[in-house]
Amino acid sequence: MMWRALRAEGMRLKPAARWLPVISSGLFIAFMALEWYLYFKGPAGVYSVFNVMYMFLGFIMLLNTALLAGMIAGLEHESNSWKQLLTLPVSRAVFYWAKALWVLVLLLCTVLLITAGLLLLWVCYTSEPLPFQFLIKQIVYSFLASTAVLGLQMWLSIQFSNQAIPMSIGLLGAVSGLFIARDSGAALWTWVWPWAYPTLSSPFMAHPGRWIGISAGLGMVLLAAGTLHFKNKQF
């Protein structure tokens, strides 16, 4: 059943949701190239790209999570489709998880495109040795640590029929992540601030594994709670 729900979800995906990973990773790579070109010259300079990525990877992941969840859930609100879908003999949980998984898949596409783009850029720009493992870790960690926000955004996007609300919350959250990246120590409140997790789980930080674990755990709790709420939602 899950597989069929995923296929049906894929069929009705809006073109914007398909293109978002391509556009966002393209912009990200272009931004890195610009930074390199303008500021970081010489052999030592090339490695500072990891610092710039540290700043903005979390932002791009969090923003994409909010936008994708908004597009995928918003489609049913704007097309008036909930009442048609939910009168099918399919469990509501299946719909909820099919949507969440599609957001994850499209985020994963973003991860792959950013990785590929950066490799290409590196090969074209410099002959310095590339710390490949570090690069993969940096990108994948920020993806894994976005799970908590995914759980939150799914919940909001399904509850609110007006996607401006969850998307604004997502944008503000992602911006707050930018500031946390500039903050040296992890203050106490960052523990409960899901938008801080992608930045905190960078391999530059002391305990990336811990933040990924917290994010994944919280993400699962939020997804489960969202599913439960959705099951009892009235239309």
């Binding site: 049906a8 069929m11 097309s79 909930w82 009168t87």
Partner: protein
């Protein structure tokens, strides 16, 4: 007595102080077209949403196909096709793709899509985007979606909303053929009596959340009263005579209106009684079903 496909007992839904659906006992027999009537805001859609599990009932029980709803919702919904309020559609996809999404979820073969498109005559527009469809076409696509799984019970909430007369006629024919040729049970809601009185076998009339009438259409017709109007030369005396005989009479000038609840009106007796007062003219007026509907739902007063 045919089996009941839908049976609700004391179905109630509250919304704060208001009670949009109040102790409704719906009985939809198998293989019949059930016209669910009521003015706008009477509780039709709310009732239907509860039947489909989209809303929870605050009190009462729902049994469909002999099973409790919503406890057995997946089993029940397998046999039910529905169209609630305005149709649902993905405007950026073609009509075919819209149905393909549902058939994928329902695990149905692709040929079924062609079949239902044929039934609602959308085959030639199947490859166009739904955002370019007319309202009638969208409505027909919604019906196609409801028919896709080959349901035993079809629940349509105001399916002729926004359709032109030809479209309405077409939907009527479709309902009749589905019910009579395929034995489908159809629950059809409408705010217009004239829209269902030609096709419905049974009707239920809901007003302010209460079911005020339920039963065969013929029984309702029998309830509509008749009025006989006499123009007489000496109305004063004629009026006195009729009142003495216990008739309900109203006088307007030299016109006397005698109303009777029963269809079997002692016309001959009246003529005999009024004969001496010089009858100039006799006219029989029967209340239209529409008037009766207004009376039952009390919408004649408002507005």
């Amino acid at each position: 007595m045919p089996q009941l496909i839908v049976e609700t007992k004391g179905l109630t839904r509250r919304f704060g102080e208001q009670v949009p659906v109040n102790e409704v006992n719906l009985e939809v027999p198998e293989g019949k077209i059930y016209g669910f009537l009521g003015p706008n805001g009477a509780g039709k859609t709310t009732t239907i949403k509860m039947l489909l599990g989209l809303l929870r009932a605050d009190a009462g029980t729902i049994r469909m196909f002999g099973q409790e709803m919503p406890e057995n919702s997946l089993d029940i919904l397998r046999k039910v096709g529905s169209l609630v309020e305005n149709p649902s559609y993905y405007g950026h996809l073609t009509g075919y793709k819209n149905l393909k999404i549902l058939s994928t979820l329902l695990k149905l073969p692709d040929r079924r899509i062609g079949e239902v498109l044929e039934i609602v005559r959308l085959t030639s527009s199947a490859d166009r985007k739904v955002s370019g469809y007319s309202l009638g076409m969208k409505q027909r696509l919604g019906i196609a979606a409801a028919l896709l799984r080959g349901p035993q019970l079809l629940i349509l909430d105001e399916p002729t909303n926004g359709l032109d007369p030809a479209g309405i006629q077409e939907i009527r024919h479709l309902m009749l053929s589905l019910a009579h040729d395929q034995g489908m049970t159809i629950l059809l809601s409408s705010h217009l009596l004239s829209e269902v009185d030609t096709i419905a076998d049974e009707i239920g009339i809901i007003s302010s959340g209460r079911l005020v009438y339920q039963g065969a259409l013929e029984l309702l017709e029998r309830r509509r009263g008749k009025v006989l109007e006499f123009a007489v030369e000496r109305p004063e005396e004629a009026l006195r005579t009729l009142l003495l005989q216990g008739f309900a009479v109203e006088r307007k000038g030299n016109m006397l209106s005698v109303s009777a609840e029963k269809a079997s009106m002692p016309q001959a007796e009246l003529l005999k009684l009024l004969g001496p007062y010089g009858i100039m003219n006799v006219r029989e007026i029967s209340k239209s079903l529409e008037e009766l509907f207004m009376e039952l739902t009390g919408t004649g007063v408002s507005l």
